[in-house]
């Protein structure tokens, strides 16, 4: 591509190679000096001719947009157009914490808040997609708020999340129509896992293994949205996979690793995506969408 690979510091060779490849691999991020986010930022900017300051400022504003969508979602119980979702985030947020697990509840509520705003056609940040938009704010903002970490400290972990997403998208399409839900929620969970790991001081290696463990445990997940709407199971699925991402970070921060090398996990997922029948790739022709209740919703909405 047109970038000339000039880096602002001593990692010039690495950046030039990344620019020539047109994208990074998880293995390259794993081998980068910690924190991994700095290397991701430098190599992306070298590739695309953007300034690191502008990218960081854009990430900062996106974190603010995410926070805004979390707040709107937690405050509203207004139903979506179909009436299938809309009150879940607020319902959880207002309920007693019977498990006495405030981190768990916060992560789940934040994630659902974003996806319920999305279902109401509100303003959200796709991360990497709109259907999976709650996972990263759920995991990253949830953990940060639980530990009283400021939003300024989330900028570079968010850069790393984006870099992990880019490495995944090098091998596979990030859309339910192309690769099933694993391609969307698996990607968002891997991105979130890496970001949370870096936020809590994890090395480049730990961050990438967190991503790989999150990814390998979503392989095979189908995209079967009821009526074709990004609501059921998408809203609750973001709550589950935000927690999944935090679990993955916990394992990686304890130096547990994925036995299968991270880039091999991506290619396994891409292979499963290619094997997945069309009925289970966002067409609403299989799974939950074809249950009697799912079909009834479809019929009701077609009548409108």
């Amino acid at each position: 591509m047109g970038a000339d690979g000039a880096a602002s510091d001593g990692r010039r060779d690495r950046c030039a190679r990344a620019a020539g490849d047109d994208s990074v691999t998880l293995d390259e991020i794993l081998n980068a000096p910690s924190p991994a986010s700095q290397w991701v930022l430098d190599s992306d900017c070298a590739e695309n001719g953007l300034s690191p300051a502008i990218v960081k400022e854009a990430m900062r504003s996106r974190i603010a947009e995410m926070r805004d969508s979390v707040e709107r979602g937690l405050a509203s119980a207004a139903p979506s157009i179909t009436g299938m979702v809309g009150w879940n985030a607020k319902g959880l947020w207002d309920a007693p914490d019977v498990l006495q697990a405030p981190l768990l509840r916060r992560v789940q509520a934040y994630a659902m808040a974003v996806n319920e705003e999305n279902a109401r056609m509100g303003r959200i940040v796709a991360a990497p997609t709109a259907g999976s938009a709650g996972t990263i704010p759920g995991a990253l903002l949830g953990v940060a708020d639980h530990l009283k970490i400021s939003d300024d400290d989330l900028v570079m972990p968010m850069v790393l999340a984006a870099g992990v997403g880019k490495a995944i998208s090098k091998q596979m399409f990030i859309s339910g129509a192309a690769g099933g839900c694993q391609a969307e929620i698996g990607s968002s969970a891997a991105m979130a896992a890496a970001a949370v790991t870096e936020l809590l001081g994890g090395s480049s290696r730990a961050c990438v293994h967190a991503a790989a463990m999150a990814l390998m445990n979503t392989i095979g997940l189908v995209c079967d949205p009821v009526g074709g709407y990004v609501e059921v199971p998408c809203v609750s699925r973001n709550a589950f996979f935000a927690v999944h991402a935090v679990s993955s970070a916990q394992l990686a921060l304890s130096n547990l690793e994925s036995f299968i090398p991270p880039d091999e996990v991506i290619s396994a997922m891409a292979q499963v995506g290619r094997m997945m029948p069309l009925e289970l790739r966002e067409t609403a022709e299989g799974g939950l969408a074809q249950t009697p209740t799912g079909l009834a919703v479809t019929a009701r909405m077609e009548g409108k």
Binding site: N48, M121, A130, G131, F173, T283
Partner: protein, 233 residues
């Protein structure tokens, strides 16, 4: 693809492929026509046809034709806005062949001109334009993109490349297609900077040059960092 495509776009829900990506395909079609169309015929392929209704694909495409970005609050009201803008449109289901399941073919017309665009929304709001007026092209809307249609002849691409070089514009990627030897050809050039307006006019004045369009970026990196990407050129 940049980091801003993975955390982003900021958008009106509910689907990055079906809503934000669809809007961007519409934005490109509008730019290729050069104005808000008065008429649009839209063919929806596979997943766009099957689940587009639930995802707001229809109004997102129309919003793009009106020039709205994916985060424009007017996006859900695009049909009403189209009526005010005298844009008449029609949707149908279409088999567009071996393309991504989230694809649309848009034929827009207005002011005596017509352009047909085939675009795919490949995930997370990322798009790929694969055909313009039936010619194979390949561009993502991440950069300034020059499209020209001309009579196929020896040396045309060299002349265009020379004009770009004279204007200090760097070529990032290039595709060319023609209907037959000596027939009509289309050149699609992704650029690191915009070609100046005077150079665009000069290009259009060449014998055998039928049509010239400069598509501005619709992806965030090009919008967030316009100076770096050369809107000042």
């Amino acid at each position: 693809m940049t980091l801003l495509d993975m955390i982003g776009p900021v958008m009106i829900g509910p689907s990055s492929s079906h809503t934000a990506g669809a809007c961007r395909i519409g934005q490109v079609a509008r730019q290729l026509l050069g104005q808000i169309p008065t008429h649009a015929e839209i063919g929806l392929h596979a997943s766009f046809a099957k689940t587009g209704k639930g995802h707001g694909t229809h109004f997102a495409l129309i919003a793009g034709l009106l020039g709205y970005a994916p985060d424009d609050a007017r996006l859900p009201r695009a049909f009403e806005e189209a009526a005010s803008a005298d844009l008449v449109f029609n949707f149908e289901t279409a088999d567009l062949g071996d393309v991504h399941p989230n694809s649309a073919r848009i034929t827009v017309s207005g002011n005596g001109q017509t352009v047909t665009v085939l675009g795919s929304s490949t995930g997370g709001g990322v798009i790929e334009i694969v055909r313009v007026d039936g010619f194979k092209v390949s561009f993502s809307g991440g950069a300034f993109t020059l499209l020209t249609r001309y009579h196929d002849a020896v040396g045309v691409i060299a002349k265009i490349a020379g004009l770009l070089a004279a204007d200090q514009v760097n070529i990032a990627a290039l595709t060319c297609d023609r209907d037959k030897r000596g027939g009509n050809a289309m050149l699609c050039v992704e650029l690191d900077q915009s070609l100046g307006e005077a150079a665009q006019k000069f290009l259009l004045s060449w014998p055998g040059m039928d049509w010239v369009r400069m598509v501005r970026p619709v992806m965030d990196a090009g919008i967030v960092a316009p100076v770096l990407l050369g809107t000042t050129a």
